[in-house]
Symmetry: C2
C-alpha cells in the first residue's frame, strides 16, 4: 500500500549493504517518517484546499504570514516562511500580480520593503483558512489529543535543539568531511572550485514555516 517495499525489507537490505557497521535504525525510521509525513501532509493540502484556488504551498504560507501580521518586512516574512529572501522576492511578485498582496517602501528607510494583503487577499484568507484548518484536523484523524500534543512537543524539541546546536555541529561535520576522501569521491576528482573567499553578509535561512 504505502511503499513499494516494506519497512522490514528495507531494513534488511540496508543491513546487507552496511554489514557490520553500527547504525541507529530507530533514528533512521524516525527521520525518514518525519519527511514522509511532512510530504504527505503538504501534498494533501496542495491536492485539496490549494489546488483550485491555484496557490502553491509556499504562496499560501506567505499569504498566511502576512495576513496574520497585517504587514511585515520581507526579511521577516522570509524567516517566518522558512524560505530565502531571494525566493520570497519571486513569490511576492507572483502574489502581487494576482492582486492578493502589495509591496510598499517605507519612506524612513528606503532599503526596506513591506508586504501587506489587499482587501481581496484578506477576503481570500478569511474564506480559505478555516478549510485549511479542517484539513489539518483531517491529517491527525485517529490520534488522541494527548498524542497530538506529544507529537507537537517532540517536534518542538527537535527544532529547538537544531536551532541551538545545528550551526556548530555543521561546522564540525564539514571539517571532518573535508579531511576525508569524500569530496574527491563525490565529484570524481574534478573539483568544483568554489570561490569561497568573499562572504558578504546575511547567510542561512530560517528552519521552517508557520507558527510555533
Amino acid at each position: 500500500m504505502t511503499g513499494y517495499y516494506t519497512l522490514r525489507e528495507t531494513e534488511k537490505a540496508v543491513t546487507e549493504r552496511l554489514g557490520g557497521l553500527e547504525l541507529d535504525f530507530g533514528a533512521m525510521a524516525a527521520v525518514s517518517n518525519l519527511h514522509r509525513a511532512a510530504s504527505a501532509v503538504r501534498n494533501h493540502f496542495e491536492q485539496s484546499v490549494l489546488r483550485d484556488v491555484d496557490l502553491t504551498w509556499t504562496g499560501f504560507v506567505v499569504l498566511w504570514v502576512v495576513w496574520i501580521w497585517e504587514e511585515m518586512e520581507t526579511k521577516h516574512v522570509a524567516e517566518e516562511c522558512g524560505i530565502s529572501k531571494g525566493t520570497l522576492t519571486g513569490v511576492a511578485k507572483t502574489l502581487e500580480s494576482r492582486g492578493l498582496l502589495v509591496r510598499t517602501v517605507p519612506p524612513d528607510d528606503r532599503r526596506l520593503s513591506v508586504l501587506s494583503l489587499t482587501g481581496r487577499g484578506r477576503e481570500l484568507m478569511t474564506e480559505l483558512f478555516p478549510r485549511f484548518n479542517a484539513e489539518e484536523q483531517f491529517t491527525l484523524t485517529g490520534l488522541t489529543d494527548r498524542r497530538t500534543q506529544e507529537l507537537t512537543r517532540t517536534l518542538r524539541h527537535m527544532v529547538k535543539h537544531i536551532e541551538e546546536n545545528g550551526e556548530e555541529r555543521e561546522a564540525r561535520v564539514r571539517a571532518s568531511i573535508s579531511d576525508s576522501k569524500l569530496p574527491e569521491l563525490a565529484t570524481g576528482g574534478r573539483q568544483q572550485q568554489k570561490p569561497a573567499g568573499t562572504r558578504r553578509t546575511d547567510p542561512r535561512r530560517r528552519t521552517s514555516p508557520k507558527p510555533g
Copy 2:
C-alpha cells in the same frame, strides 16, 4: 531565538484575525511543527554531510534508494523518493553526469529504464551514509528511545491515514470549494482556463522519501 514571534503571540494574532470562528489550534500547532521540524532536519543535512560532497537532498535520496535496492526501475525509484518521475529524469541525469549512477534499458522491455550505482557511487554511499545516520541521531538528541519510537509510530499513523483516505477526501474538499466563491476570489475573476479535458494516465506522486 527560534522565530521572530513567539507561539503565544502568533495564536493571539490568529485569534484576532479569525474572531469567533472555531479553529483547532492543537492541530495547527502539530502540523506547523511537522513542517518546521522536517525543514530544520533537511536543512541540517544539507549544511553538514551533503554540502561538501555537493549533493542536494533529492540527489542523496535517489542515490540512497538505488544503493539499497541495487537496481531499480525509475518509476519505483521516483515513488520511493517521493518525487515525480519527470523530476527524477533530471536528477538521474545530473547524477549520471557525475559518474555516480548509470541508466540501462532492459532488452525485454525497452520502455523501461533501470538505475544502478557505479563503483564510485557505491563507494561514496558506503563512506557517506554512516555520517548521515550520525546526523539523524543528532537531530534526535535529548529524546528517549521511547519518545523516538512514539514519534515514529505517530508519524506512520498519519502517513497511513492520508494514503488510505486522502484521495477521497481531496475530491470531496475540491468539490466543496468549486461550489463556493473561492476560485474567483483567488484569481480575481480572470479564470485560468485550464484545458482540463484530457487526463492521460499516471497522476499523483508518492507521499514521501526513504524507508518505512
